[in-house]
Symmetry: C2
Subunit: 371 residues, 2 copies
């Protein structure tokens, strides 16, 4: 029997969790959070705080350390139904599961199980979407449910929506973007303060923009996963993240900035992709490169994300926004949840993806000035 | 009996227009264009050209001068079913009507009639959406059809989508934007060339970015209609365009630019709105103002649009893109058509709008430096 911890601290049968009889049940969409870390707790605070979202009702929270974490929460969050077992969330009456567990495993199994249980899912998990996104989107379509992932790429910058629908009347030929806010905070700090990379990392950690070990941010792994997700949206391509050329930002020093300045620029970690559908050639890479000081990328300081999307008919579309901090992913997640709540029966066809015939890297093209 | 002119030049009964028996009928969404001007003809070329959109089939074109215009078209477009009577389009089997007739009347009646006939509608008409948008969206919802209007604001910059859905997980507190590409082309030309406004207008006309009489662009009327549409999306406000303070750009001369340069800036036509929901106070205006040379607005040269959307939780989101030329609105229209084609039964609730308690203009605030 599933056991819930609710506000009264009395374990309840899950069939009693809604706290209201069927006749009283309101029409708000019922939301459960899976994983109560920085992002999950920010979403919970938004949904229970002074500025709540009328269409949504947070009813369940599942976390492996539910008992400990619940004890430290304010009443509005502690009184939600908490459980340590994901199966309890699956058996509950939530309509939408917000998945904020990081890493590939076991998150992919959680998402699959939630879709199979008839829930729609909103995820912030770039690793899962980069590796298994297509299979999961296909499952969601088959189940008549939705899987949305705006928070997996670009923080509060709505690039998934813009590439997925916003430019669908055009044809994307290329995009360049700052997709890793931590690297951007570190590089722009080095530029502004003239400090070395270790000091800049320490400062980003202190501001909450970096993990103690930001190696996945600096080495490009994080940005590559996002790049792969965007290649599926922009070009309908299935790309293996391991096939993308990646250069680390960890070796950038003050000397690199001096040389960049002499060339009229500064340094940013850029993710780039362009696709020639006639030849089947994808050019894609993540690397710290010299960007002109007049470019939008040079203007991004702190934990910002930005993208320049080049289209065949209407030229460039530029987008930027906050890339890190708890609020940015929470905003992206809640936008997705609201989109599902608006039309729970919406048809969202899984994209039909092909593999590029050839993938080229940074070394095969001349316009980007590698550091 | 409705009379169509088709490729064979033989008038056909509308029940024969699909050119195929029910058993052969393909699953593409059937699209009709109402109004064959610059935008309508660009959409027609996109749908019949070398890079067509697989999900869409252009089947009908309605224009008051159908006979004349059809005669000047290439075979791929001339062979579509043409009619001079809008009623014929209503009686046809098109799923989606693309409305590109400019001005308030009779476009509003056309849109209403199309929705009542069970068609979904995609419009580029800012005047209709600013004045009657809410009533039409309510009608669309009641009919179980969709009315989409990305092309009414911002050209290829997907601001309707971003404000409507992309930032729905946040709360918009203010936005500032370049919404009139013609004014921007004129002002940025004056800045770059040091020419007077008449020369700049002549140059914009020659490039196809301005009408012979760009007075609705320069006096702010065009941007005000767009501002009102964005206030409904961003703040859920119903605003009378006549209540918005507007200052004309027509009086800007070289002296104005000199003074702006002395203040470290340049001049752009900016539309601004901010809303205090607690007080019910909307501050909104359209005016040529001094913008810092480091701002995104100063970087917009030519027929560009740009917007800075300020949100309560995740800060600023910046967006820019091509604002004028036939391709930009066509891209926005086709994106909307594809969104409808993806899920023709989608539920798109009409927004619930309130009126602001008070509307303030440019004079009541200090941060914008009026020219």
């Amino acid at each position: 029997m599933p056991v819930w911890y609710n506000g009264s601290n009395v374990p309840l049968n899950s069939f009693q969790t809604s706290g209201s009889s069927p006749t009283e049940r309101d029409h708000r969409c019922r939301v459960g959070i899976l994983g109560f870390g920085t992002v999950g707790s920010t979403v919970a605070r938004r949904l229970t705080g002074p500025d709540p979202i009328p269409q949504l009702k947070l009813t369940h929270i599942s976390d492996r350390r539910a008992r400990d974490k619940r004890a430290r929460q304010p009443e509005a969050i502690a009184s939600i139904n908490w459980t340590e077992r994901f199966d309890d969330l699956l058996a509950s009456d939530v309509d939408i599961v917000i998945e904020t567990v990081s890493g590939g495993e076991p998150a992919v199994d959680y998402i699959r199980a939630a879709l199979l249980a008839g829930k729609s899912v909103v995820t912030a998990n770039k690793k899962v979407m980069a590796h298994q996104g297509h299979a999961l989107l296909t499952l969601a379509e088959r189940q008549g449910r939705q899987l949305r992932f705006e928070a997996a790429v670009g923080g509060a910058m709505p690039i998934v929506r813009v590439l997925g629908n916003g430019v669908s009347g055009d044809r994307v030929t290329a995009f360049s973007a700052i997709l890793n806010a931590t690297s951007n905070a570190v590089l722009s700090r080095m530029e502004a303060e003239g400090c070395d990379i270790d000091e800049a990392i320490a400062s980003a950690c202190a501001s909450g923009y970096a993990e103690i070990d930001p190696s996945l941010d600096l080495d490009g792994s994080d940005a590559v996963a996002k790049l792969v997700i965007l290649c599926a949206l922009a070009f309908k391509l299935r790309v293996d993240p391991d096939a993308i050329e990646t250069r680390t930002t960890a070796g950038i020093g003050l000397e690199s900035f001096k040389r960049a300045r002499l060339r009229g620029g500064t340094i940013r970690q850029i993710a780039h992709a362009s696709y020639d559908p006639a030849q089947g050639i994808l050019t894609a890479w993540v690397a710290p490169i010299v960007v002109a000081t007049t470019s939008i990328f040079a203007n991004m300081t702190g934990p910002q994300n930005a993208a320049v999307i080049t289209c065949a008919y209407a030229g460039d579309i530029v987008l930027s926004g906050q890339g890190a901090g708890g609020d940015a992913p929470a905003v992206a997640i809640l936008g997705d949840v609201l989109e599902i709540a608006r039309d729970r029966a919406a048809i969202v066809p899984a994209p039909v993806l092909v593999e590029p015939r050839e993938i080229r890297g940074l070394s095969e093209q001349s316009f980007a000035e590698a550091v």
